[in-house]
Amino acid sequence: MRLWMLIIASVILSFISLFVGAIDIRPSDLLDWGSDETQIFLISRVPRLLAIIMAGAGMSIAGLIMQSLSRNKFVSPTTAGTLDAAKLGIILSMLFFTNATYIQQIIFCFIFTLIGTLVFMQILDRIKFKDAIFVPLIGIMYGNILSAITTFLGYEANILQNISSWLMGSFTLVISGRYELLYVSIPAIILAYLYANKFTVAGMGEDFAKNLGLSYRFVLNLGLTLVAIISTSVVLTVGVIPFLGLIVPNIVSLYLGDNLRKTIPHTMILGIVFLLICDIAGRIIIHPYEIPVNITVAVIGSVIFLTMLFRGRAYAK
C-alpha cells in the first residue's frame, strides 16, 4: 500500500464524516454563514473530525512506540494496562481531589498513567520467558487488577454507571470547548518521529543500546512519557478506545517492515482511516442514533486480533 493512497482515503473519509450525523447538512448550507447548519458544522462536526484524527493518530503511534521499546508485537496501551491505569487515575482524582483545578486533575491522571505503564515495564524486565503471547497475557491480567480496583471504588461511591458510560470511547459528546486537551498529542507525535530510530535501538536491550552510545534510560522514559501523555489525553476527552494501538502498527509492519522512520507516517494515517471508518459506521448503522466508537472498534479490533493470533504466530516470533 502506498502512502498517497492512504492519504486520499483519509481525506475522502474526513469529508464523509463532516456530513454524516443526526442532522442533515449539505455543503451548500455552509454558504449561508448565519444558518443553524453552519453553526452545528462548526461547533460539532469539525471538532469531532479533529478529535478523531488526533485520537486515531495518537493511539496508533502510542502502540508503535510501546511495541518497538518492548520488541514485542502484542504490547500496546490495551495489553499493558495503560488504559486501565488512566481510568483508575481518573476515578481517584474524582474521588479524592474534588477541590483541585482541572489542570491539577489532568496532571495527576497523567502521572498515574505513567507510573502504571512503568510498573508494567518493570514486570516485563523480570520475566525471563519473553514469549510473544506470554507478555500481553501478563499485561491484560495486570490491567484486570487495576480495573478491579476501579470497580471497587465505583461500587463504594455508587458512581459505577457514570464511569462506564462516560469512559467508553465515544465521539458523540465532542464539541468545541471539550476536546482541546487532545492537541497535546500533536507535539508528542512529532517527538516520536524525531526519536524513532532511538526507540528502535533502545528496543534491542540496555547493553546493546549503551554500546551504541545511546542514553538508554532517557530514551525509554521519554517513550513511556509520550505514551502516557497520548493515552491520558485520549481517555480524558473521548474515553477508552481499545485495540487501536495494537492492530494498526501490526498491519503496517506486515506490508512495510519495521523501520520506524518509514512506518510512522503510515501508522498514523492508517490509524486515522480505521477510526474514521469505525466512527462513520457507528453513526450510520442506527441513524439518527449512534453506536459509541469503542464498540465498533472493539468488535472489529478483537476479530482482527484473533485472526492475527490464529494465523500470524510464525510472524510474531
Binding site: I123, D131, A148, Q161, N294, I295, L309
Partner: protein, 318 residues
C-alpha cells in the same frame, strides 16, 4: 508431612468455624428474623463454592492444564451477555426476568452451547499452545464484554441498577427457590461424579494412556464438559460471576494436597472455596463494613495470584 486425611479434616474444621462465625456473629434485631436469612446465604455460598471447585478441577483435567478455567475462557461474559440481552429486549418486568426458572434455564442453555463451541474449535484440535488459548479466551471475553457495555449504556438507569445486582456476585439477594434447584443440580452432578472419579484419575494420564486403559475418552470429555458448564452456569446464575475463584481454589488444592486422586482434590478445593467465600464475606461484611460484593475482592486477589502462577509456570517452561 501430614497425611491428606488430616489435611482434609483440618480444612473441614476451618470451614465449619467460618460458617459458625458468619451464622452467629453479632446478631441483632431478633434471632428468628436474622438467623434463617444467614443460613440461606451460607447455603448459597457452600453450593457456589462446591460447584465452582468441582467444575474447575474436572475442566482442568480434561484440558490438561492448571491455568485455564471455564470462567477465564469467557463463560462469565457469556452469562452477562444473556442477562443483558434479556434486560435489553424484554425489560426487567418481563417473564424472562421475573420467572426465575425461565431465566435460569435460558442462561444455562446458552452457556453450555458456548462451552461446546469453545471445546470443539479450540481444545479438541490440540493445535494451540496453552498461552495462546488463554489469550484467545481473554480476547473473546473483551469482545463479549464490550458488547455488553454497549447495551448497558443504552438501558434506562433504573433497569441498570436491577441488572447490576444480577451481574455482581451477591449473596444478599439469593432467592430460596433458586437455591433448591441449584442444590438439586449439584446432587445429580455428585451422583454422576461418584461413578467417574476413578475414570478421571485415569484420564489425567493423557489421552493415549487413557484410551489404552479402556476409557472411551472422547465421550467422557463431552460428558464432563457438559457437567462442568452446567455447574458453572448454576453458580453464576445463583450469585453472579466470580471469575477467579475456581482458579485460586483448584491451584491451592493441588499445591496443598499434592495428590492426583480426584476425590481428594475436589473435596479439598470445595472446602477451600467455602472457607474463602464464607470467611471472606464475614470479613467484608462485619469487620471492614464494605458495600462491595465479595466477587470484586476475589477478582482482585485472584488476578494477582494468576500473575504469580503464570510467572511460576513460565519459569519451569523457559
Amino acid at each position: 508431612m501430614r497425611s491428606n486425611q488430616t489435611k482434609i479434616i483440618f480444612l473441614a474444621v476451618l470451614a465449619i468455624i467460618c460458617m459458625l462465625l458468619y451464622g452467629f456473629y453479632d446478631i441483632k434485631g431478633g434471632f428468628d428474623y436474622a438467623f434463617p436469612r444467614r443460613v440461606i446465604k451460607i447455603a448459597a455460598m457452600v453450593v457456589t463454592g462446591i460447584a465452582i471447585s468441582y467444575s474447575t478441577v474436572v475442566f482442568q483435567t480434561i484440558t490438561h492444564n492448571r491455568i485455564l478455567t471455564p470462567s477465564v475462557m469467557g463463560m462469565d461474559s457469556m452469562y452477562e451477555v444473556v442477562q443483558t440481552l434479556i434486560y435489553f429486549f424484554a425489560g426487567s418486568m418481563s417473564i424472562w426476568v421475573v420467572n426465575r426458572y425461565l431465566n435460569f434455564g435460558a442462561a444455562i442453555i446458552a452457556m453450555v452451547l458456548f462451552a461446546l463451541i469453545l471445546y470443539r474449535f479450540l481444545f479438541r484440535t490440540n493445535k494451540y499452545p496453552i498461552y495462546l488459548l488463554l489469550l484467545i479466551g481473554m480476547i473473546l471475553g473483551t469482545l463479549l464484554g464490550s458488547f455488553v457495555t454497549f447495551l448497558q449504556v443504552l438501558i434506562d438507569p433504573v433497569e441498570y441498577l436491577s441488572l447490576q445486582t444480577r451481574l455482581f456476585a451477591s449473596f444478599t439477594n439469593v432467592k430460596a427457590e433458586l437455591l433448591y434447584i441449584a442444590m438439586g443440580i449439584l446432587l445429580i452432578a455428585f451422583i454422576y461424579g461418584f461413578q467417574i472419579m476413578s475414570k478421571l484419575d485415569v484420564m489425567s494420564l493423557g489421552r493415549e494412556n487413557a484410551i489404552n486403559l479402556g476409557i472411551n475418552y472422547d465421550r467422557m470429555v463431552m460428558n464432563i464438559l457438559i457437567l462442568s458448564s452446567v455447574l458453572i452456569a448454576t453458580s453464576t446464575a445463583l450469585v453472579g460471576p466470580i471469575t477467579f475463584l475456581g482458579l485460586i481454589v483448584a491451584n491451592l488444592s493441588y499445591q496443598y494436597l499434592a495428590t492426583y486422586k480426584h476425590s481428594t482434590l475436589i473435596l479439598g478445593a470445595s472446602l477451600i472455596s467455602v472457607i474463602a467465600l464464607v470467611g471472606g464475606q464475614f470479613l467484608a461484611e462485619h469487620i471492614f463494613e464494605l458495600r462491595t460484593t465479595i466477587s470484586v475482592i476475589i477478582n482482585f486477589v485472584g488476578g494477582i495470584y494468576f500473575i504469580y502462577l503464570l510467572l511460576k509456570e513460565s519459569r519451569s517452561a523457559g
